[in-house]
């Protein structure tokens, strides 16, 4: 088992041990003494941590994160609970309304309504050398999005990528899709670990990588 980032702990909820962070609840998750359960079935990053992937996250106020595909804030709210300045990029206005609510009680969670395929639209806002680039955008060209956003990542930073096979091609075998994504990704990243997330998310691959 890999080490969890500071600020993420295994805690008891109704007699069950679950990952948790400290903050205001966002999606109806159970809470206990200020801790909120992090549901790996609703969060790919939560699934990656639950599966013991070596995410390389330290946690703490100094850690900076760029999160692509924030949706209504389910996962990025947990990230902002344990990390420092967290930039949350989401493309669709409707989930962004809920994201605003999740960000309300989190002073270092910055919501940005933008297209992750156009980093120049937020490069004047997001700082360079972030420690982690978390990506969960259900769109075609997921490897390209990760490559385009490499410019934000520190040399020793980590890309934590969730790949959804069906977003690339609904007809192809997920294994083949994942192989192609890894292949394309290696143009700019060294892949450290990858793992199917099927226990929690059907036909998704979790990837940990660092810029090369």
């Amino acid at each position: 088992m890999s080490e969890l980032p500071a600020g993420v702990e295994r805690r008891q909820f109704d007699g069950e041990e679950r990952l948790a962070t400290q903050g205001e609840p966002v999606y109806g998750e159970p809470t206990n003494e200020g801790w909120r359960a992090w549901n790996p079935n609703r969060s790919k990053l939560g699934a990656m941590l639950s599966l013991g992937m070596e995410a390389g996250l330290a946690g703490g106020d100094e850690e900076t994160v760029l999160y692509l595909g924030a949706a209504s804030g389910t996962t990025v709210s947990h990230v902002a609970d344990f990390a420092g300045p967290t930039y949350a990029v989401e493309f669709a206005p409707r989930p962004a309304r809920d994201l605003l609510e999740a960000a309300d009680s989190r002073p270092r969670l910055f919501p940005l309504l933008a297209d992750a395929r156009k980093p120049e639209r937020y490069a004047h806002v997001v700082e360079h050398d972030v420690d982690a680039l978390v990506q969960d955008v259900a769109t075609r060209g997921q490897a390209r999005v990760a490559l385009e956003n490499r410019r934000f990542l520190a040399d020793d930073g980590r890309l934590l990528l969730a790949v959804k096979a069906r977003s690339e091609d609904v007809t192809r075998n997920p294994g083949d899709v994942f192989a192609d994504v890894r292949d394309e990704l290696s143009k700019g990243y060294e892949i450290l670990e990858y793992r199917r997330l099927d226990d929690y998310h059907a036909d998704h691959l979790g990837i940990v990588a660092r810029p090369r």
Partner: protein, 296 residues
Amino acid sequence: MTADSPAEAGWFAGLEPDDPEAAAAAIAEETASEPADWPKLAVEAGFASDAEEYYDRLKEATTVATREAVERAERADDRQLVHAVRTMDDCQRTANELAERLAEWAGTVDPDAGAGVEYARAIVDEDADRDGGVDHPRIVSLAERVVALADEAEALREYVERETPTVAPNLAALAGPVLAARLISLAGGLEPLAKKPSGTVQVLGAEDALFAHLRGHASSPKHGIIYTHDAVRGTHPDERGSAARAVAGKLSIAARVDHYSGERKPELEAELEERIETIQSRTADDESGESGGDDE
């Protein structure tokens, strides 16, 4: 923006520290090809005294920018509603028409032929059971189309019920989501609805009746589609004109609030309720001598 100094390219370039509106505009509209150490550069440029203050300002600016963009997008969504509610009515009407045709035809082979979409559903279900029922492939197929159309109308209704409260929260609360969507559709959008005087809102959907009146064939129409509002329907016929006027007035205000500010104003509901109670009590008083009850 094209200056050599990288600090020029940050969102905060050229901004006064206490102008969140301008900051939000810069967040939304400016660009940069590469990120930089913005917190440090902002402090150097005197935009903030330290990184913490920089992040506080960034928080405010990104929140305002995102909120504005979300609200702009939601206002534009009335187009989707207009199409959805019109399609819902078309599907329902077509399903009913075809169901009539189906009942006529099926009556020639099924002595127990029923009527309406319900009967179409019965034919489809029986066919799935494979015991008895209507044994005519064209009639069964027609029944399937009827059921599919009715199901689509239902799915569209669910969509309208879900979406209207985000597009027009106050109007949806006062009128119910479906009637709210119909009013938006009849007016041609939320903005045109917000700009109509309440007298026009009162007769929206009663155009046929209005033209008959103008041609001298009928009395002036007192209510259009808002006739279906509970507050109008539940009022004694003598007072329905007043009720329709009160409902139209409040719905117009709700549409304006939704279009211009988007904020939720729950007091509108209370005000309408109070007004309707006053109107209804007039007839209740008249009748109280006889019955005292206020059921229809």
